[in-house]
């Protein structure tokens, strides 16, 4: 009898942790709800996981915090691909950060859910900014994010290799093809780009597509087909590896560093790796098909936003932090540190003088086009069609003229 009672107690005891855990779960929801006049800390979420950027951003956040009277910044850094998932988790548990960094093509999608506060409520405008970053951060006529620095992709070339072959960096597609062919020797391909089955592959197709007058709202146009033809020609000529359908931008950079590619399409965030490997490289904007066209580059870079946390005092301090991160001094500092271009047009000429190496990118960013500028939150659906179309062409499954239709356009 005693053993039976003991057994019953033992069984009950095993239940205890479960019920305790259940109680513990219900109390945590109320955190962050308290509203006080003084804000002594702000929660920040971003994806700058790589050094030196991680520390530089951290220092800038702390300095801004001090200048607006917030002594403590609770910063969380998560890997890029998991940022949105993290934000969704936080949204459902009502624990969104006070300041949130978002990649520019994601802003409208997140803003459309009602998760972000319009910056106009805090007197922040984007006057004097390049049009690309403003378009990316605007939804329904309201501004939701402020982007201190922008980047894009352009042609990187090995100076020594081109000089040896007597080749000048290309300014037209015809030159790109002949140069790339001339530079293809032995293991070395003339050109490398990224055409993977993901948003990166779509992003890399935008320079030829946009520069040729193609538009994401009309993917079946001859201009888009012309751009597809260029990608196809480069691979068919043997000037670019067939592996481009499986090379991410980081792989493309590895090939360039390894000497397997004389030119590549890539962004300034690769420069630390290139410098570390002592590659002697130059950068020129992506060429155009015919003289008279202008090279249009896609806008890259991240913006700072203020999520709707419900705490007005904290939200207005958060807006001050966003404003500080975008001050003239911080835009210039961040641009120099991170291989970016300031988004305030007035700063561009000063920046060009101070960092002549970035001149190619500075001009490109002034005219850079936001991926979500026309399509807004539906851009991802179109991006999927674009990368599928590119892959269909490069694997010989479809002709450039009907690839986008086959991909679902």
């Amino acid at each position: 009898m005693i053993t039976k009672r003991l057994a019953a107690i033992a069984a009950l005891a095993t239940l205890a942790p479960l019920t305790l855990a259940a109680c513990g779960g219900s109390t945590s929801g109320s955190a962050g709800g308290s509203s006080s006049a003084t804000v002594d800390s702000l929660k920040v979420l971003d994806y700058y996981t790589d050094e030196p950027g991680k520390t530089q951003i951290g220092d800038m956040l702390t300095a801004c915090g001090t200048s607006i009277g917030v002594p403590k910044i609770d910063r969380e850094v998560v890997p890029g691909p998991t940022l949105i998932q993290k934000v969704l988790q936080q949204a459902s548990s009502k624990s969104l950060p006070d300041v949130l960094m978002l990649d520019n093509p994601d802003i409208q999608q997140i803003a459309d859910t009602g998760a972000l506060a319009p910056l106009g409520d805090y007197g922040i405008t984007a006057d004097g900014y390049a049009p690309g970053p403003v378009a990316a951060a605007t939804s329904g006529g309201k501004l939701y994010g402020l982007q201190p620095g922008a980047n894009t992709i352009a042609i990187f070339y090995r100076k020594d290799v081109l000089a040896k072959a007597g080749v000048k960096p290309p300014t037209t597609w015809a030159e790109l093809r002949t140069d790339a062919k001339k530079l293809t020797v032995g293991k070395q391909y003339g050109f490398a780009f990224n055409a993977t089955a993901d948003y990166e592959g779509a992003w890399q197709f935008l320079p030829p597509m946009w520069s040729n007058g193609g538009d994401e709202t009309d993917l079946k146009s001859p201009q888009v087909a012309g751009a597809l033809q260029l990608w196809k020609d480069l691979v068919d000529d043997g000037s670019a590896s067939k592996s481009v359908v499986n090379w991410k931008q980081s792989d493309v950079n590895d090939q360039f560093i390894a000497g397997n590619a004389a030119m590549m399409l890539n962004g300034p965030w690769q420069e630390p790796a290139l410098d570390k490997a002592n590659v002697d490289y130059g950068v020129v904007p992506f060429p155009v098909d015919q003289a008279g066209q202008t090279s249009v580059a896609p806008l890259g870079g991240e913006a700072w936003t203020v999520p709707m946390t419900g705490d007005q005092a904290r939200m207005s301090k958060a807006a001050e932090l966003v404003r500080c991160m975008n001050s003239d001094a911080n835009q210039l500092l961040r641009a120099k540190q991170g291989g970016l271009v300031p988004t305030k047009l007035a700063l561009a000429s000063q920046f060009k003088q101070e960092v002549p190496a970035m001149a190619g990118f500075t001009d490109a960013v002034a005219g850079a086009r936001a991926r979500t500028g026309k399509l807004g939150a539906t851009w991802p659906d179109t991006a999927k069609i674009i990368y599928t179309g590119v892959q269909l062409v490069l694997t010989g499954q479809a002709a450039p003229a009907d690839a986008m239709a086959k991909a679902g356009a």
């Binding site: 039976k4 019953a8 069984a11 239940l15 969704l88 459902s92 997140i110 859910t113 067939k242 359908v245």
Partner: protein
């Protein structure tokens, strides 16, 4: 417990015992029942929380417009079958179904045959047996992300070590486009998955082999059953229970394989390696259409259930025999 007690406990059915005794006895029985229930409750709660809730939630999500907005507003309106219609009417779906079938079949056949041969090989005793067998477990120890990154480098068309080796051996004259040709990519991915699945098959089949008593082989040898004959009439029948578990788990594990495809091709080139599991992942975590992702994973769950039922029925028949 004494004999007398056992006897008395049987009596109440025929002759009613005095009231106080009965109440005490039924009280103790109730306590006993309660104890049994209490012991089951933690496991039941764990099952409900860890298996029941996600499955029910997933089924419900399949009928909801569950997107980015839901996380902020908490609203997920019911949309009937439109998620299922959307995913099934997508051009890629039929391709994903065929690929899932080919991938599963190819992987299982490859893993099982090689695993079986290795298990039989290691069942004989020879020097360094244990060391070699441990080495075969390596794919299991390697994180899948590392494994697929390594395979991506190995299968690289121009400079990958596999093509370079094959070219030097004179097996091929032009590089094989392992991951870059829609005709070859699925085969390459099956090969990598076979490599990954060998340790699982080897380990389970090897332990199954060890459970077969040696006497059976000795008796069989006396009757002239050696070599292949011994395999078909002694090993195979005795291994059937293990084989069915290995195959059933293999099918379910393979149906949901995601990481190596993500690491190697992301479903490309030109959707050549799309599977239902990958489609489900991409809809949920790349496009944030969680309702559609749930619909696809529900389809996958039903397919897995079909195999589970086949396994259970086969198992029952075996028990009946």
């Amino acid at each position: 417990m004494s004999d007398t007690k056992t006897l008395t406990s049987a009596t109440p059915r025929t002759t009613p015992a005095p009231a106080p005794v009965r109440s005490r006895r039924s009280g103790s029985r109730r306590l006993e029942e309660l104890t049994k229930v209490l012991f089951v409750v933690p496991a039941a709660l764990a099952i409900v929380a860890l298996f029941g809730y996600p499955v029910v939630k997933n089924v419900v999500m399949g009928f909801q417009d569950y997107g980015l907005k839901t996380f902020f507003t908490g609203q997920a309106p019911f949309v009937g079958l439109s998620n299922y219609l959307a995913v099934v009417s997508d051009d890629v779906f039929s391709k994903a179904v065929v690929n899932t079938a080919l991938f599963t079949l190819g992987s299982i056949v490859g893993q099982f045959v090689i695993g079986m041969l290795l298990a039989l090989f290691f069942h004989r005793s020879f020097p360094l047996n244990g060391v070699l067998r441990a080495l075969f477990l390596l794919p299991w120890l390697l994180p899948l992300i590392v494994g697929s990154a390594a395979w991506r480098a190995i299968l690289e068309q121009d400079s990958g070590i596999l093509n370079v080796t094959l070219e030097n051996l004179g097996v091929i004259s032009t590089p094989v486009p392992w991951l870059t040709s829609p005709q070859v990519a699925l085969v390459a991915i099956i090969l990598v998955n076979v490599w990954l699945g060998i340790p699982f098959n080897l380990t389970l089949l090897y332990s199954g082999l060890q459970d077969i008593p040696d006497e059976l082989y000795e008796a069989g040898a006396l009757d002239g059953a050696t070599g292949w004959k011994a395999f078909w009439s002694i090993t195979w029948p005795n291994l059937r229970a293990v084989v069915s578990v290995v195959l059933m788990l293999g099918v379910i594990y393979t149906l949901k394989v995601l990481d190596i495809i993500l690491g190697l091709t992301q479903g490309g080139p030109a959707n050549a390696t799309q599977t239902i599991a990958l489609q489900s992942y991409q809809r949920s975590f790349v496009e944030f259409k969680f309702g559609q992702g749930a619909a696809l994973s529900n389809i996958l769950i039903v397919i897995s259930l079909v195999f589970a039922v086949i396994y259970l029925r086969a198992n029952r028949r075996q028990v009946d025999e």
